[in-house]
Symmetry: C2
Subunit: 125 residues, 2 copies
């Protein structure tokens, strides 16, 4: 049992994406990761998929979800449920940063391109 | 892929605890649940354990964690990491409601008493 204090996303090698892994394999978990991210306006994740389930809570800002051939907008207070192995991309489309909390059903989180190539994340996931 | 909008915790049969299951088996997940709760000042969960891992993000308020023979205080911005099968109890000890987001590595979330008796949760977990 641990009480953790470090939860401020910090800049990463991915342009416009600040990240902190709140909890995961680095804090002793085996089946669960929780991330916080902030994405500057106009920035985006690459298209990608995970081999696990993901729930993304939008805390602030406006985002676009590109997945399954559709584009859907989401705002603070909404949540995205992403089944395992579904390609998706998130884009920060509002005037303020897009802030999210994401939970994953595995740790570390395996992330691949839509072509199945493993994407090396620049953080302990 | 779903974008969900209903995230306001509502009153439950457990005194002082408002709850909403943000995502879980009811939204098609198999290995992940996310809850939001608000606990009125002076209220508490019963002592309990889950058969899965749990991460609790404190969004607002002040809480006490009773676990492993210790009492620790936590505040908004802090996070609790709870391994599987560890007994714990959360108490809202501040002047305002204790608001939390919790992620679990299973769905539905199996909850038992410290004696191992299954606790029937009054919500779809």
């Amino acid at each position: 049992m641990q009480i953790l204090t470090n939860h401020t996303p910090a800049s990463t090698p991915i342009p416009g994406i600040d990240h902190v892994t709140v909890a995961g394999s680095g804090t002793g978990l085996r089946h669960l990761s929780v991330w916080k991210q902030s994405m500057a306006p106009g920035n985006a994740t690459p298209p990608h998929r995970h081999t696990c389930e993901e729930v993304v809570l939008c805390i602030r800002g406006i985002g676009e979800l590109h997945a399954e051939g559709r584009i859907e907008r989401f705002i603070a207070g909404q949540t995205i449920v992403i089944p395992a192995s579904v390609d998706h991309q998130l884009i920060s489309v509002g005037p303020e940063p897009l802030e999210t909390i994401a939970a994953f059903s595995m740790t570390p989180v395996l992330t691949t391109s839509p072509q199945g190539e493993v994407l090396a994340l620049p953080w302990e996931s």
